[in-house]
């Protein structure tokens, strides 16, 4: 009798722990990974727990024998993520270590950012739009553009750029800058200030180190990039009008193929495409994101705008409205700034962080060294996550 009671008690504890894990891990079927599920992350009642969990939790978590915090069954969060999404990963199509995307199925193809074709790809490999942490496949030395003659209302004419193209490289190349793993400075973090301050020293923060989960939500949020509304240690606490929670919600497609043939922003099917004359959505499957990002009183809804707002939750002072190039911000370091804020209703502007930078890492070569960071005096060959060799991103738009 005592034995039976003991067994029952153990079963009850086990069931309770399992249920707790299921509930804690509530995922969404963003990209069909092992950590996501369709049954949860939606407002509905009567969710059948056994359908929702399906034992997925145990691929990453242990209830009683975990190796690290958050009940992870591995000591290194980075290694755990890379065991699927790294160069050794055999459980995902995204290899963020090498900037490679695997997909040989029918793939949507955006040759110029506006033309939508569906083709059967001849190769299994594509480049990730965000580059990679150790290698990337961006054709940073092969970027091209066209020009066209533009006539202003007052009759002036000028050449403008259009059809910018960054093709993929044939194979991954070593990165010259990467957004991962370091304990450095979160550049531009903080409010505009007359006191010299380049950003937040990450070593003073609670996490101290940028990791996968600093930006991504491993349990999914029904969006392909599964970005957190508030990146870790961003210090962001603003509740955007219309939202109930602080943060910037990046809403892109639930299922999206990263591999395209153009790594300029216009080639991103989830981004607004500026062809110089018309603005179109690169893909028809993009849902208008809500809640919407905003600055001041203006609310816009494009993916690009939200991405700009999202990046600047950490790199606060890079969020520069139009005309910042001629307007003194009052900041001792970030005094005059390139427009980095497309959140002004001007959807055709297209200027935001990912126009010029990749999120993960770039293989752009910087043979002509430049000053690395604001306030630095030493030269560096660090590519600062730029998409094109040297400072070619400037020439992608500006005719100089």
């Amino acid at each position: 009798m005592r034995t039976e009671r003991k067994v029952v008690r153990r079963l009850v504890v086990l069931a309770a722990a399992s249920a707790a894990l299921f509930i804690g891990a509530m995922p969404a079927q963003a990209d069909n990974g092992p950590h996501v599920s369709t049954a949860t992350n939606e407002v509905k009642s009567g969710i059948k727990i056994s359908d929702a969990g399906q034992g997925r939790c145990a691929s990453c978590h242990r209830a009683h024998t975990a190796k690290s915090a958050y009940l992870l069954n591995a000591a290194s969060e980075e290694d755990l993520c890379l065991s699927c999404h790294g160069g050794s990963g055999t459980g995902a199509t995204t290899d963020v270590q090498n900037g490679v995307g695997y997909d040989s199925s029918a793939t949507t193809y955006y040759p110029d950012g506006k033309t939508v074709l569906t083709v059967k790809r001849g190769t299994q490999v594509g480049a990730l739009r965000g580059g990679g942490f150790e290698q990337a496949m961006l054709g940073t030395d092969s970027a091209t553009k066209d020009t066209y003659l533009y006539t202003y209302a007052d009759g002036r004419v000028a050449y403008r750029s259009k059809n910018q193209l960054i093709p993929p490289a044939a194979a991954p190349k070593g990165t010259t800058s990467s957004h991962f793993g370091g304990v450095g400075i979160m550049w531009g973090n903080g409010s505009l200030s007359g006191t010299v301050n380049v950003g937040l020293d990450m070593s003073t923060t609670t996490t101290g180190k940028l990791e996968c989960s600093s930006c991504h939500d491993p349990h999914g949020n029904k969006q392909y990039r599964i970005l957190k509304p508030v990146p870790s240690d961003s210090g962001f606490a603003t509740v955007i009008p219309g939202n109930t929670q602080p943060g910037v919600f990046i809403k892109d497609t639930a299922n999206k193929v990263y591999t395209t043939t153009n790594y300029w922003i216009a080639g991103d099917p989830a981004a607004l495409a500026d062809t110089g004359t018309t603005t179109t959505l690169g893909a028809t499957s993009i849902t208008d994101p809500t809640p919407k990002a905003t600055t001041g009183t203006t609310t816009v809804s494009s993916f690009q705008a939200n991405v700009a707002a999202w990046c600047t939750t950490c790199h606060t002072r890079y969020l520069a409205p139009r005309s910042s190039w001629k307007t003194n911000s009052g900041d001792a370091v970030f005094t005059y700034r390139h427009t980095g804020d497309n959140i002004n209703g001007d959807a055709a502007s297209n200027r935001n962080c990912i126009q010029c930078h990749v999120a993960h890492g770039s293989n752009a070569a910087m043979p002509n060294s430049a000053v690395e960071n604001p306030g630095d005096t030493a030269l560096s060959t660090d590519s600062r996550l730029l998409r094109v060799d040297d400072r070619g991103v400037c020439v992608m738009c500006h005719n100089v």
């Binding site: 034992g55 145990a58 069954n73 065991s83 160069g87 059967k120 194979a171």
Partner: protein, 361 residues
């Protein structure tokens, strides 16, 4: 015989003669030695035992010379046991897949990370060759898993990036590219399997949509025989052909091991969970000649050992696990591939420790 014993015997004999003298009998002579029949029988038994022992020893020696296996693997002994740690072979970065040549003298190992390649190692871990794609196939190559043909010894390497399966001879000389007869069939191979009749099994994860993941079964000439598991699998990794035309598959992201019988019917054998023998993220898998199934649990940092049943659909019995998370000997950091040879050795690709661990019985 010791001096004390000799002296005691002599004294006993002298006492006996003295007694005869005392009785007035004939002059004393030593008694004739009569052989004890029990002693003879004892010696015969000993001799037979020696013969039997010699025969047994000869048989064991012959068995060992033929099989080169440890004695713990002698037929009839219990197979329900986990191997013990032997050594580790270094020199390969982030090894992913591993296979053994038929004679056990060579290892075929795929290297992942930022420098993907496939190497041939000898038993001491020395690199003795490479499995290179043909020169005409330019571009990016990511070899993942390796399989060895059970009779010819040819080596099959699945290249996920190129979407091809390359075939090499035992020494690593490129022989051919295994190509489906139907040119419309493309795949992005993860796991690979080859059976003795030349049937080739390819785990295809070419789509971001797991509903399209599948096992392609090809005849030796490249004609598609059947497609298995479509809509059921999620990043299938290892494929192991078994008895009775069954194939075992690690359905990795679904956290389970499934078996397809000869009719193509799928049965789940092992599943995800936190109990003994349950799985987390199964990747590599191997079946040894004793019927033991080794399943690498990548995120549990262990290799699980099971014994298979008489029928492929019988649920394997959990024997135990070996390894643990760490960087020391006998510990793993995200192990991936596993292979067994015919000598009771188990090779595990210990990925993040950049080594191949050798375990054995």
């Amino acid at each position: 015989m010791t001096d004390i014993q000799t002296t005691a015997t002599q004294e006993a004999g002298e006492d006996l003669l003295q007694e005869l003298d005392d009785l007035g009998g004939p002059p004393a002579t030593p008694p004739a030695v009569v052989e004890d029949p029990r002693g003879r029988r004892r010696r015969r038994i000993i001799a037979w035992l020696l013969v039997v022992a010699l025969v047994l020893f000869g048989a064991v020696a012959a068995w060992y010379l033929l099989n080169r296996k440890p004695l713990s693997e002698l037929p009839g002994l219990d197979v329900d046991k986990v191997p013990t740690y032997k050594t580790a072979l270094y020199g390969v970065e982030k090894p992913l897949g591993v296979a053994v040549s038929l004679d056990g003298s060579l290892l075929y190992v795929t290297q992942s990370g930022t420098k993907p390649a496939a190497f041939i190692l000898d038993r001491d871990g020395n690199s003795v060759g490479r499995l290179k794609p043909p020169a005409a196939d330019k571009g990016y190559h990511v070899p993942v898993y390796v399989a060895v043909h059970p009779t010819s010894g040819d080596v099959y390497v699945g290249d996920r990036a190129a979407g091809k399966v390359y075939v090499y001879d035992r020494a690593g000389t490129y022989r051919s590219t295994f190509t489906p007869k139907d040119k419309k069939i493309t795949f992005s191979p993860l796991g690979l399997g080859v059976s003795a009749d030349g049937t080739v099994y390819v785990a295809d994860a070419s789509s971001a949509e797991p509903k399209n993941h599948r096992i392609l079964v090809f005849a030796p000439d490249g004609s598609l025989v059947k497609t298995l598991g479509k809509g059921e699998l999620n990043y299938p990794n290892a494929i192991v052909p078994g008895a009775q035309d069954a194939i075992y598959v690690t359905d990795s992201n679904n956290g389970r091991v499934v078996v397809f019988d000869s009719t193509g019917a799928m049965t789940t054998l092992l599943a995800r969970g936190i109990g003994d023998g349950d799985l987390g993220l199964p990747r590599g898998m191997a079946l040894d000649d004793q019927g033991r199934l080794f399943v690498v649990d990548t995120t549990d940092q262990q290799v699980r050992v099971f014994t298979t049943g008489a029928m492929p659909t019988d649920h394997p019995a959990y024997v135990g696990s070996f390894g643990d998370q760490g960087r020391e000997d006998a510990t793993f950091l995200f192990p991936n591939g596993v292979a067994t040879d015919t000598r009771g050795r188990v090779y595990v690709a210990d990925r993040e420790n950049n080594r191949i661990q050798v375990w054995g019985y």
